[in-house]
Amino acid sequence: MNAALVTDVMLRSLGPYPLHLADSEDRFYGNRLIYTSWENHLMYAAPFCLPLPPTLPFGALVRVVLPEIYGEHPEFEQIDWERTQWFNSQVRFRPDFGKSLEHHGLTHKSLIRFRTPALEGIKRSTAPGRQAF
């Protein structure tokens, strides 16, 4: 990413300013933070933050974790996981449900965005007065 661009040139202080990464991975009891965002579905006001084991199979994320956190959305049942598009932040990836989060390069504090194209058209296709949320 753009780590090389980020420096502390603007930071001024009177004395030494030690680095303190408040959310380093070792503080989460073997889990890492993973953020999830179901694109275009803003009934959930913000993406979620979850502590998950890096060894969690991607299939378990989809079959166990996601239903728990998104299951109340009226469209959740209709999701076609075969057609779902997955992104690690901006970068598209094709998940292997048998392999771990780690295997997919989902490091600590990675953001998983998923797009469910079959449900994209709801804004136009539903009855007047209804809208996507």
């Binding site: 980020v6 303190h20 503080r27 933070l33 006001a45 993406p47 932040s89």
Partner: protein, 520 residues
């Protein structure tokens, strides 16, 4: 005859000089820059402190007299309000939730401001700036006290106000104002004045105070209105300090211009993000509305701010980077915020509710381009769910912006259907931001923001559980344990207003037979 001794009395101007700059001396045992190290390290160059125009000619003796009179009047009103059971005269018990937000989120900022001004009131080399800051430090401490006293009356009758200091240090949404102020007062003194005196007090304060105080007036809360009047005259002094400090820095050295510009970019945006809470309060929490957030923004930010930045252009200052995005946000942020608080209303320390039909109509009318199109559907859906399955709460903790600490609920400028995502990798770790402007603030000083106390991350680290909970396995309901640690009583201090003791008590006290949640 005795010779009459003419008592030499100083004129106002001389007395002022004697009581401010006359108290200053240059140190000789130690070099001045060792005694005053703080006002140099930020890179601001000051050549002549005598050019500092004292923004208000107030000395300590006059201050005591004047403020003493004001406080006597204020406390007379607060007493009368209490003796007459003024709490029964408010429009609707929902209104008290605006006061809860105020005592939880704003009042602690007064105390932070007190500490910040007390600090810079010691650190400036120039006596004029020191005295101005010291007086403001006392103002802020008074405001903290008078707000606490004015609102404490409500604490006897309503839930959600009994533990506000602890909450301010722990609860997720209160980390927004808290981190804002900690960011400001951990900067140097010039940045602090740019942040608080200029960006917050000069540019944005009307957007904080007018909604709360006229909201109080419209909703029958005379106690809070009187506090507002009492604070108002102090606020105008504070605003003058803000603009004086900016002009002084800009006139002292051209090298100061880019530093001041960067601070303005940063602090305008941080202040704007903080005001999201006010926007929500104004559009959703006042049973009797004053004006919409959008109208307030147009009146107090767009017209005043536009003139201000035209005025500052001669110094080479342009409007803050986030200005246009903030203006575009006026159609959205209050709805996005209330939708967030509605669904996390079981994890807050005040009540939330769905707008009534008349209020939905008001929102549609005030936000003709956005409310029906983007936001009404969510509220309609939740209303249906509430009827059939019961009140819905979102049980999963949200992702937060690393800088403003607001949940990542803001959408892409120009596309209200997409969350705005930005990220940076620093020391091998990703950090996420709600906007290009929060990212810009981080990228300038990443080492400062990676130490942020992010409430959601802290919960997962185990910092917000009672002692009897193992943070590695907090049981079946981590939220319940976190609330226990916060000292928030589920259902009493939070949850839906319609089922709250606040609602039923208020109805009982007033002999009100109307349906739950009905406004007067």
């Amino acid at each position: 005859m005795d010779t009459r001794v003419v008592k030499k009395k100083l004129g106002l101007k001389d007395r002022y000089t004697a009581m401010t700059r006359g108290l200053h001396w240059d140190t000789t045992y130690q070099p001045m820059d060792k005694v005053f190290p703080y006002d140099a390290f930020e890179g601001i160059k000051i050549h002549d402190w005598d050019k500092w125009e004292d923004p208000f000619r107030l000395t300590m003796d006059a201050y005591w007299k004047y403020q003493g009179e004001k406080d006597r009047k204020l406390y007379a009103v607060i007493d009368a309000f209490a003796q007459n059971n003024g709490q029964l005269g408010i429009s609707d018990a929902r209104y008290v939730n605006a006061l809860k937000l105020f005592i939880q989120g704003v009042t602690p900022l007064e105390y932070y401001a007190h500490r910040g001004y007390a600090h810079v009131g010691r650190q400036f080399t120039g006596a004029g700036a020191r005295v101005a800051s010291q007086l403001q430090a006392i103002d802020e401490l008074r405001h903290y006290q008078t707000e606490t006293h004015a609102i404490s009356h409500y604490n006897k009758y309503f839930n959600g106000m009994h533990n506000t200091s602890h909450w301010n240090e722990n609860i997720w949404y209160l980390s927004v104002p808290k981190s804002f102020f900690e960011d400001a007062y951990s900067g140097g003194p010039f940045e602090f004045l740019t942040a608080i005196s200029f960006s917050f007090e000069y540019l944005l304060t009307n957007l904080l105070f007018v909604p709360f105080m006229s909201g109080a007036a419209h909703n029958g809360d005379i106690s809070t209105v009187t506090f507002g009047f009492s604070a108002q005259s102090d606020e105008s002094r504070h605003m003058t300090l803000g603009i004086e400090c900016i002009k002084f820095m800009l006139e002292q050295d051209p090298d100061n211009v880019p530093i001041v510009q960067r601070w303005m970019d940063k602090w305008f945006w941080r202040g704007y993000r903080l005001l999201t809470l006010v926007a929500m309060m104004q559009d959703y929490m006042l049973p009797k509305r004053v004006m919409s957030w959008k109208e307030a923004w147009e009146m107090y930010a767009e017209s005043n701010g536009g003139a201000l930045f035209k005025d500052l252009a001669r110094y080479g200052i342009r409007e803050p980077k986030g200005w246009k995005d903030a203006c575009a946000g006026k159609d959205h942020i209050s709805h996005q915020a209330w939708a967030t608080f509605y669904q996390y209303g079981h994890a807050a320390a005040f009540h939330t509710w769905l707008p009534e039909q008349s209020e939905m109509n008001w929102l549609s009318e005030k936000y003709p381009d956005t409310f029906d199109r983007y936001y009404k559907g969510r509220f309609d859906h939740w209303a249906e769910v509430q009827k059939t399955d019961g009140r819905w709460f979102n049980q999963t903790l949200p992702m937060l912006c690393q800088v403003c600490q607001v949940p990542m609920m803001f959408t892409v400028p120009g596309d209200p259907t997409q969350i705005d995502f930005h990220e940076t990798t620093y020391h091998g770790m990703k950090h996420h931001f709600c906007s290009v402007h929060c990212k810009g603030i981080f990228d300038d000083e990443p080492k400062k923001y990676v130490q942020a106390w992010m409430p959601v991350h802290q919960i997962y680290q185990g910092s917000c559980y009672p002692d009897d909970i193992n943070p590695a396995s907090p049981g079946d309901s981590p939220v319940r344990e976190v609330l226990r640690y916060y000292g928030v009583n589920p259902g009493e201090d939070n949850g839906d207003f319609s089922t709250s003791p606040d609602r039923s008590n208020f109805a009982k006290w007033r002999g009100d037979k109307r349906k739950p949640g009905a406004a007067t």
